[in-house]
Symmetry: none
Subunit: 196 residues, 4 copies
DNA sequence: TATGAATGAGGATTCATTCAT
DNA sequence: AATGAATGAATCCTCATTCAT
């Protein structure tokens, strides 16, 4: 039960070590040697568990995305109305442990990579698409499909923009302000429609 | 007057070569050798004009930001009302030559760098602050200072978010959709107030 | 009798796996991991049965040489005159399954190694000496010992040269041409003497 | 006059260093580090002059082949009859400075490489073809084209075989014996025809 | 001003080998 | 008997930077 093979354990350790290094020193600092040191293993071990550095980085990206995915999923599961589910997506993006410069900068680095590395782009797009469709699915009964799409684009863009802001504000951007901003827009967008 | 020293000419050439390389092959590809080759100069010359690679990259960043700054300034100068000036800022961010994945990628890469390189952060923040205050200055008579700040944050975040989207969409995100999105929000934000 | 211990079976499996890898991917590709994979065993097992990689390679060389030795022995046993026995040696060197670039390449690689690894040299020399003495033994009654030695040197050299040619011809050198060449020389060398 | 650019000088130095290392420690020992050390340069310099290790090895091979080519060319130029030119080719292959195990083993290693590396094969084949056609061209008036081809194949194979022998004989195979062997065959092959 | 020779640090990767289980 | 975890050495390669000319 919950038993994991050493293989899985090590892979997780390494991925978390990579995540740690990225948070502290940047994505570029996550060399095999640095990650191995962080994990307390030899350089060779990293390539024993991941066939290349790229594979490790990709696994780390997937790991980080999975953390985010869980956050969203849990909050959405707890929500009881379509609108509440959209709010849940927003809240998940600004949860206390998550909305931090050290995460924001990693996310940005991966987005930057995406332009020239299709593999990374695909991974990031999956995340984005899921967020987008979650929002659309829950807004379309309220706003109709066309408007739902427009609002979803606005919401996700607002969120991304506030993450950029987070990365570039020393100490991090104020979480509450960011959260408020997006929720307000949601209210504005849905309110207008309702009143219309 | 307006005359440039050879020194300045060379520096400009190099900075433009660096920009070119970044656009075509990514920020990571802008090594001294690659930039020198692009500029048709020897590797040694690059370090003769910039004391280090970082200095070249920084100059390139400033150069790119200046191009953007001009775009904004020109459009704002042509605008004849506060609201038109805000629209001018938005239009500048989605001008046809500018809103492209290769530019988005460079901008993102620099934002990602910003977390660990205070110098880069400062440069990027200057830009951001200027955009922000331009917007606030032109909205405050209309919305009051507090609301103006809120709307300015929303506008800049939306813009940034749509730039992220641009970087991650193969072929680039649709410029018109992006532009519309932000202008619509502006109308919504100002319209509501006015009607209130 | 004829029963083989598991130990011996495994060693043979590994040696044949190594041979297989060498044939398909070159001597250089025969790493422990690659050979283990080919044999369907773990890397650790290879070193359980051979105390080092070198030992495995050496065993493989001996195995290959033994295959060749059998080919020669069988054909010689079937021959019924001294001259026929010499011809048998030649035929063995150009048998259909044997005279192929992938074998030639392995043989050449080992010959090249021989200069710096006395152990390999000894193994290869045993083979060469046996071929040489077989020929001399069967020619000396016909040609006298001195001439027999000369002809034997010519024959073995011709054969080796045609193996080099085989290695360097894409698709392999024509077997029949090679075989003919050596047999013709044999006829020439013995015919001349006889007629003399 | 005879002035060479530093570039050319260094490239030659490196190629000769590589040759030296190969002679003393084997082709496999010619790593970038080892060659750099032999040349008294840093590892980085090797890649400054050759874009990869492979390029260095290839240049070294070409250098060695060129040395051989000169030997042949000079001797052929001095010869005054077709037959003498064929003899010149043979003599060149067994010249005192050339017919040595340290050279033989390098040649063998490259031939072994040839099976799986088309580039090496092509280089080696050029050499072989030239030797072959030299011989054929000079024998065909004497023997007719068909017989000339056969004899040329025999001669080159004999030579190659005696080079293999050289590589595998500790201390080297007797040069005079080798030379004699090939010259004798030539006499036999041409003599027979003449008497025929 | 301009070149490019030279270095050395750092990075990814391969691989034989040892060892605990 | 068997596995594969772990290591560390060696290798190729990239690059910023320094310096002599």
């Amino acid at each position: 039960m919950g038993r994991k093979s050493i293989d899985e354990i090590r892979r997780l350790e390494l991925v978390e070590a990579a995540f740690q290094v990225m948070k502290q020193e940047g994505v570029g600092a996550a060399s095999l040697a640095r990650v191995a040191a962080e994990a307390g293993l030899s350089k060779g071990m990293v390539l024993h568990y991941f066939k290349s550095r790229d594979a490790l980085i990709e696994a780390t990206l997937r790991h980080i995305n999975a953390l985010y995915g869980h956050e969203v999923a849990e909050r959405m599961a707890a929500a009881e109305s379509p609108l509440a589910r959209v709010e849940a997506v927003i809240e998940a993006n600004f949860s206390a442990w998550y909305y931090k410069p050290e995460h924001a900068h990693i996310w940005l680095a991966f987005c930057a990579q995406a332009t020239f590395e299709p593999r990374f782009r695909r991974i990031q797009r999956v995340l984005h698409s899921r967020m987008q469709s979650n929002i659309i699915a829950n807004l379309k009964s309220l706003l109709g499909i066309e408007e739902a799409k427009r609002v979803a684009l606005a919401l996700t863009s607002l969120i991304d923009g506030l993450w950029v802001r987070c990365a570039m504000t020393p100490g991090g951007f104020d979480r509450e302000t960011a959260r408020r901003q997006v929720l307000d827009y949601l209210k504005l967008a849905t309110g207008r429609r309702r009143s219309a």
